[in-house]
Symmetry: C2
Subunit: 194 residues, 2 copies
DNA sequence: TATGTTATTGACCACATAGTCAACAACCGG
DNA sequence: CCGGTTGTTGACTATGTGGTCAATAACATA
């Protein structure tokens, strides 16, 4: 019936995500987005509603992607739960000390949010809880395997790992190098010693 | 000879700091700064040179203040080094989960910086190293007191604590409550068990 | 092929913003 | 009390911004 769209929504969100990851929400201009996505302002508005809304979409995509990635890293059966956490943290250390030094949309959302009621804030909090849930699952397995103390508080430890990775992200952005970040990751793991 | 200034520079920087802490660099308008500091645009320009420069001044003040505060918390003789670190982390947990949920200028600078060469980035990296130095000193004392393992890597541990506190800051901003953040702080400390 | 619906396009707008200018005010040494 | 120097004030500007409008294009159905 109606004229079909010339673009694929998820592609547009991906391109926008890229722009936001580099510039942040406030500093990214609509023109940046128009250029990156290839479609016109009005089309962007028709499809998403505005810069903020588009950011929220990108944020949500980012959250899914991050959760998926961590789930996969922690869920494979190729190693014991503890070893998987270890591998994951080391991977993060390398990633965060890479040359691009990008900052996740989640962190950006937190910093650029205007308060607790801000959707940017609530969405990110949900993302953090989701991520912590993934850690918790793996930690629970580790406990069942007796790789970590039986009295370990899986709940708070899962949030602890979210905090550590966020901190590592920031440090990487500040220019802390790979070797130091790797050492930090290994330090962080010591909380799990039996 | 010349007309004297009607303001005290450090007061102006403090007021500006407040504005930047709430809004960030990009989102703070010159009008916000004019209103908060009480002086006119031109006077701001005469004295500091522009929004960015003013932010850098505020950042530098913030860094001194942060270093001083942590130094004091970790330097008192009222408790053993390890206990002081413990107390400091618990204090941070309470602070970061407070209702204001502000974000340090250092974190803001990192996120809003445009790249590694950006003064915002280099200044913050220096601040992080300075802070890590303070932690390192206290950790060294703890080692001398045999409160932490003799083979502990004081260097990376000091950076680890910077990472953890940055992460806690972000989590607090996301709305993670005091009890959880306190638990995270205690988890983080387990790294130091002998 | 006519029609209704939605997408696209590019010009357009109101507004906020960082930064500037020029006139004026305050101080102090001479 | 005068003049040089610097600070202050408020009006001004240029520009970039997010967002809108109206005309047109592309499709599916009838």
């Amino acid at each position: 019936m109606a004229r079909p769209r010339k673009f694929v929504e998820s592609d547009v969100v991906s391109s926008a995500s890229e722009v936001f990851a580099v510039h942040g929400l406030a500093a990214a201009t609509l023109d940046d987005l128009v250029r990156a996505t290839g479609l016109g302002k009005q089309s962007l508005y028709n499809a998403f509603g505005g810069k903020r809304e588009l950011f929220l979409r990108a944020l949500s995509e980012d959250r899914e992607e991050a959760t998926r990635a961590v789930s996969e890293a922690l869920g494979h059966d190729d190693a014991s739960p503890l070893e998987r956490i270890r591998g994951h943290l080391l991977t993060m250390a390398i990633e965060f000390s890479g040359s691009d030094r990008r900052i996740s949309l989640a962190t950006r959302a937190l910093v650029e949010s205007t308060g607790a009621e801000d959707p940017l804030s609530t969405a990110t909090k949900a993302g953090i809880e989701q991520l912590a849930g993934v850690y918790a699952q793996c930690l629970e397995h580790a406990r069942e395997h007796k790789e970590i103390p039986a009295d370990a508080n899986v709940q708070s430890l899962s949030v602890y790992f979210v905090a550590v990775t966020r901190g590592m992200e920031l440090l990487g952005r500040a220019g802390v190098g790979r070797s130091v970040l790797t050492a930090v990751a290994l330090d962080a793991l010591r909380v799990l010693r039996t």
